[in-house]
Amino acid sequence: MTDSGGKGPTAEALDSLLAFLDPDRRRAAEEHERIHRRLVNLFRWRGCADPESLADETMDRVGRRLGEGVEIHASDPYRYFTGVAHRVFHELLRREARDRRTLEGVRREPPPEAPTAEQERRLACLDQCLEGLGDESKGLVLRFYQGEKGERIAGRKRLAADLGITTNALRIRAYRFRARLESCVRGCLSGGGSK
């Protein structure tokens, strides 16, 4: 059961992992990327400060195990990935404990709010990016995120009914637009837009 932590993936291990994910190498690479991205978020949601490297370590370990000739139950491979990720996370906790720091302790206090001028600039960027979405998408985003708590929930139910989709489908759709907007606003701010 002991994993040889610290070693990078061998070419054979990577080959084994890709072959396990999909016989087609291109699709396997896409699946590899997809699982890695989700693992990054899972580690982030667990409060880890360096989720990328923990996701790398998880993928490497699974690859090494496969490279060693271990078969993984093919109809439920994700359970194996989450199991390995779980162990990687616990090993992180163990290292943190050894350093006499808890994971919560590593996390810093929230940074202060941005100054007013920056907030105004962010708003201007948001306006520009909203325009880039087009009227219908912009309308959906603004309706979805509008209002205080109770009003917002009721508004979303109405919006989902208007569109003839489920609330979950609406949430995902609104989230996708939001992710694009957020990325656009970052680009605007870093590129000096809306000065």
């Binding site: 054979e12 978020n41 996390r107 306006d127 880039g132 009227d135 995120y145 208007d162 609330t167 979950n168």
Partner: protein, 334 residues
């Protein structure tokens, strides 16, 4: 898994479960179940991303209080990335409520269904929207069309350049990996030959040892490894297939709080509840969370398909032996 009462601002119990996961309020097994779903199901994963975004919105509107607020600030918004998302959420809430941009009426035109599939998946590499920049303020349909064409051209050029660079990087990485692979395969072949020579020499020196016996001994056992640790408490048994040609089934179990035990024992019970295999010396890896056990079970022990149970017991320092728990396995044989 126990589903909590719906007290959150989402649409139901499910939303509240995701919120509690993100705020670190679920126990380990429920959290593992949420993570397994998110890893295996793209829609579940996106719902978690959406739930996280909604937490940022609630924070921006001052709707998070008490323990939820503390957990949000320490778990999600404590680094620069989280701070940027927090500031974005504040701007979005402000614009949605008091928009200076021309927001359509609340019951304005519905977004057609076809718009959904056309929207980029949030899991795809992010392609930022271009912001209008110098063309801001231009009015009229032709300006809009030109601006749209310019944006599309810019986007295509950027994507093309990015793809070109990426292909080059991947080619280089592939070459490097192929070279490493060739070197490792050569090394493995040399070691395999060396091992076979040694086994052959050993076999020749024993009365029963022939060349074929030596070659057979050199073949490593075929092992399948099952992680039983992530099984959901109270849920269905983990289903595992054991194919032909498997020699060893390695069962892995994590025992939270197992650090209080100085030794462990495992017992496998067959479909009829009868013990079919046991070990007083499973592999043990210890950590502050407990202990991780490895039980290498010979594959023939799983003689037939059916529901097996792995019982785990621990011996405390004072000699008392306690049953820690059992794990259900649904075994399928060809």
């Amino acid at each position: 898994m126990s589903y909590p009462r719906d007290t959150g601002p989402g649409d139901g119990t499910r939303d509240n479960l995701l919120r509690r996961y993100l705020l670190g309020q679920l126990d380990a097994e429920d959290a593992a179940a949420v993570e397994l779903e998110a890893l295996a199901d793209g829609e579940r994963f996106e719902l978690l991303l959406a739930a996280e975004a909604e937490l940022y919105d609630e924070h921006a509107r001052g709707e998070l209080t008490g323990e939820d607020l503390r957990r949000f600030e320490t778990r999600l918004a404590s680094d620069p990335e989280g701070a940027a998302r927090r500031d974005f959420a504040a701007a979005l809430a402000r614009r949605a409520d008091h928009g200076s941009t021309a927001a359509p009426e609340a019951d304005g035109p519905a977004v057609p269904e076809a718009d959904g599939p056309a929207a980029p998946k949030s899991e795809a590499p992010a392609v930022p929207l271009e912001f209008p920049g110098a063309e801001r303020g231009a009015t009229g349909r032709s300006r809009s069309v030109h601006r749209g064409l310019a944006l599309a051209a810019t986007l295509l050029l950027a994507v093309g350049a990015w793809l070109g660079v990426r292909v080059l990087q991947l080619d280089q990485a592939t070459d490097r990996l192929e070279a490493e692979r060739a070197a490792l395969l050569a090394e493995r072949a040399a070691l395999t030959q060396e091992l076979a020579d040694l086994k052959g020499a050993e076999g020749a020196g024993t009365p029963e040892g022939g060349l074929s016996e030596g070659a057979k001994a050199a073949a490593p056992p075929v092992t399948v490894s099952f992680l039983v640790a992530a099984a959901v408490r109270g849920g269905p048994a983990s289903v595992f297939d054991i194919g032909d040609g498997v020699d060893v089934v390695e069962l892995q179990v994590e025992v939270e709080g197992g650090d209080v035990y100085v030794a462990f024992g495992v017992e496998l019970r067959g479909p009829r509840g009868v013990a079919v295999w046991s070990s007083r010396d499973p592999g043990v890896e210890r950590g502050p969370w407990g202990a991780a056990l490895t039980a290498p079970v010979p594959a023939p022990v799983f003689g037939s398909s059916g529901r097996y149970r792995l019982a785990v017991e621990g011996r405390r320092g004072d000699g008392v032996v306690e049953e820690i728990g059992t794990y259900a396995l649904e075994i399928r044989r060809p």
